[in-house]
């Protein structure tokens, strides 16, 4: 059981959108190092860690002036998250777009992770996603063409 999380950065798909820089550029001061690379450290009881805290993250959408918040701990997976987003913004089909290879949805969902990078929603296991997602953004697919978004099979 070696340290987790090392070396995977090389294979991460990074989104570098032109102009505004993915929406997180101005706040991306220094990368926050993740201490969670060692088993059992810091010594916080498992019982204390298991307590699910409500995880509210901001969601912005292209063209929508007002941001919303969604509770990730309420959703059990990407499908439910998709449904929640559809309810908030009317971006139909976004749930399926997270799960499948489908290009039919007009929108894609991306999120800013703990390192400050913008990632495509749906690549990593749900539990890992809820731990690393800091905020969500729904973008129109037409703006993202040519960035090379190829989903790899799980």
């Amino acid at each position: 059981m070696g340290p987790q999380g090392l070396g995977l950065e090389i294979t991460e798909l990074r989104l570098g959108l032109p102009g505004a820089g993915g929406g997180g550029g101005d706040e991306r001061s220094e990368k926050k190092r993740n201490v969670n690379t060692v088993v059992g450290w810091p010594p916080v009881c498992l019982y204390r860690q298991k307590v699910e805290r409500k995880v509210y993250v901001k969601v912005s959408m292209d063209g929508a002036p007002i941001l919303r918040k969604v509770d990730l701990s309420c959703c059990k997976g990407y499908l439910e998250l998709g449904m929640a987003l559809e309810k908030l913004f009317g971006c139909y089909g976004i749930g399926e777009a997270m799960n499948e290879e489908s290009e039919s949805c007009e929108y894609i969902a991306i999120y800013e992770d703990k390192d400050g990078d913008w990632m495509l929603v749906g690549d990593v296991p749900w539990a890992m996603f809820t731990e690393t997602c800091k905020r969500l953004r729904i973008k129109r697919r037409s703006y993202s063409n040519g960035i090379g978004l190829h989903r790899t099979n799980n």
Partner: protein, 580 residues
């Protein structure tokens, strides 16, 4: 030669001696005292369930009423002990069911207990009164239902921090209507909803109920109903402390709390909505114990509460309290004995809150009765530690966790050897110490020389060489439990101090540099130690003696090697025929 006193007189004298250590001392005086004492011992405490067998215990102490057992090593709390390691209660209950029909109390910590065992408990002991399962696992709601249904005189059911499979949900209704003896109920660890009506009825017919700890699923809207039925409560754990903002709800809750004139301890507070905090302000002046460690409220709200609690003795809180809140604590709570500050975001290196070493320094200055500290923070200095040590020589428990491993003194960039050295130098009654930060062998020299009352020591990412471990093993006279992870300690110190290990309860070493060969040698030299090698990579038989073991757990025992080990645990020097 006869006795000085008749047996009955000695027995009467012994009845005033309750501490286990004192009882043990009494039994060593002479053979007749040993005999008399063993027949009248009513409470036994077994700190390591594998140190002795049920048969040996029952043979020696035939009239026991209360049993306390501990199973897995402490580091199991941090996921360092693989599932299936052991700590099973079943062999104990099988024999005790037969041998102790008058057993009244069972207290277990870090053990695996099945529904079958719970059912056996509920049916074997007519006078069963107290069941405490602390950080246990292996059972479900069905087992609890059996306890509820069959234990006619149940006084205390405490499931603190246990992992319970609760898919079926309803077990409270299994308490018969005739059951009115309940004094303490702690179900805070249960995940699913309980039947609220069953809960209300149970509380209403338990006039002696003093402690009630609800689980998160009990909504705030229903709390006042419960409080009205149990105004005599001394300790309350709320459920989720959130609801829609409603003035009438706040008034009801405030009124309900005001009726609880005996309340001294509060806990729970998941999902706090600050609007509802003032509801319990009326009880603050009486509070001696407050656990806000699940409450994600910010410093101003926390401060507002604690400044109203002049009688507070024990406080658990998240680092949202920040240095400013700890300053307020040091000014308001002069009776404080114990402080625990937990990290709100332990896995992020950068500070998310303004909590530093300064908060702890303030509390050490203002709270003269402070004895026990557990403190998570992101920076520390030798000067702060020295100040704390000089302020509080009465500390008995000092556990400091600087989140980043090997973090140096943030001001001088030196190791924290001198700071911890000051702690063990000034705090002469120190019984428990947890180290963190950048530390060389020197800190262990200080500890070995000065920490003469130290009983438990936890070390992580520290030291330079075997010398460090040698200082501890050869110097700390009172040491009972030593747990070490990720330190460059190897064979030399271990093998130079083998007899020390028999004077201790246990030694844990993981991710260190102890070789398989040394483990084998140790177990051959010391037959009354179980030298357990825990290694999940498999194939220990084909490894060379020079390879390092993943995890080592050494403990003294009179029961010989245990027979219930999984494949990834080996007791060195054991007959291969005993392996599962």
């Amino acid at each position: 030669m006869g006795y000085s006193f008749p047996e009955e007189v000695l027995e009467h004298v012994f009845s005033f001696i309750s501490l286990h250590t004192d009882r043990n001392a009494v039994s060593l005086v002479c053979k007749s005292w040993y005999e008399i004492e063993r027949w009248c011992r009513r409470r036994i405490f077994i700190g390591n369930c594998y140190a002795v067998s049920p048969g040996i215990v029952i043979r020696r102490f035939p009239e026991v009423r209360s049993v306390e057992l501990k199973g897995k090593p402490h580091f199991a709390d941090f996921n360092l002990v693989p599932d299936g390691w052991g700590g099973y209660f079943y062999p104990w209950i099988c024999e005790m069911a037969r041998a102790y029909p008058w057993l009244e109390e069972i207290r277990l910590k870090r053990m695996v207990i099945t529904d079958e065992s719970l059912e056996l408990i509920s049916k074997s002991f007519k006078n069963f009164k107290v069941l405490v399962l602390s950080s246990c696992e292996g059972f479900s709601i069905d087992g609890l239902a059996a306890i509820a249904a069959n234990c006619r005189n149940l006084r205390e059911l405490d499931l603190r921090e246990s992992e319970v499979e609760d898919l079926s949900g309803h077990w409270l209704s299994h308490f018969p209507d005739s059951c009115t003896s309940l004094q303490s109920l702690n179900m805070s660890c249960l995940l699913s909803e309980v039947s609220f009506s069953a809960l209300v009825r149970l509380i209403a017919r338990s006039p002696n109920l003093k402690t009630l700890r609800l689980n998160r699923a009990v909504p705030l809207e229903k709390l006042s109903t419960l409080l009205h039925r149990a105004p005599q409560l001394v300790e309350l754990g709320t459920g989720a402390y959130s609801a829609e903002i409603r003035q009438d709800l706040l008034s009801n809750l405030t009124e309900a709390f005001a009726k609880c004139k005996e309340l001294e301890g509060l806990s729970g507070f998941w999902d706090v909505v600050p609007f509802y905090l003032p509801a319990f302000y009326s009880v603050c002046s009486r509070l001696t114990s407050l656990n806000l460690s699940y409450a994600t409220i910010q410093s101003p709200d926390v401060t507002k509460i604690i400044t109203q609690c002049p009688n507070l003795q024990r406080l658990s809180v998240l680092d949202y309290i920040e240095d400013t809140g700890l300053d307020a604590l040091s000014l308001s709570c002069k009776e404080l004995r114990e402080l625990r500050v937990f990290p709100s975001d332990p896995f992020v290196a950068d500070a998310n809150v303004a909590l530093t070493e300064q908060g702890l320094v303030s509390v050490s200055e203002g709270c003269s009765k402070l004895q026990s500290v557990l403190y998570f923070c992101r920076q520390m200095s030798n000067s702060a530690l020295t100040t704390i040590a000089k302020n509080r020589p009465n500390l008995t428990c000092f556990r400091l966790c600087i989140l980043e491993p090997r973090a140096p003194d943030y001001q001088t960039l030196e190791p924290l050897d001198h700071g911890f050295g000051a702690i063990v130098d000034h705090c002469k009654q120190l019984q428990r110490l947890s180290l963190s930060g950048l530390l060389t062998d020197r800190v262990f020299e200080y500890i070995g020389n000065r920490a003469k009352k130290l009983e438990m020591l936890s070390i992580a990412f520290a030291g330079d060489s075997d010398l460090g471990l040698h200082f501890v093993l050869s110097g700390c006279e009172s040491l009972r439990k030593l747990e070490i992870r990720d330190c460059p300690f190897g064979d030399k110190a271990l093998l130079a101090n083998v007899s020390k290990l028999e004077t201790m309860r246990s030694l844990w070493m993981s991710s260190c540099s102890v070789s398989l060969g040394a483990c084998k040698w140790l177990s051959q030299k010391m037959p009354r130690l179980n030298v357990e090698v825990i290694d999940e990579q498999g194939d220990l038989d084909s490894r060379p003696d020079s390879c390092h073991v993943e995890k080592l757990y050494v403990y003294r025992t009179v029961a010989g090697p245990r027979l219930d080990m999984p494949s990834f645990v080996r007791t060195m020097n054991q007959n291969p025929a005993y392996r599962r």
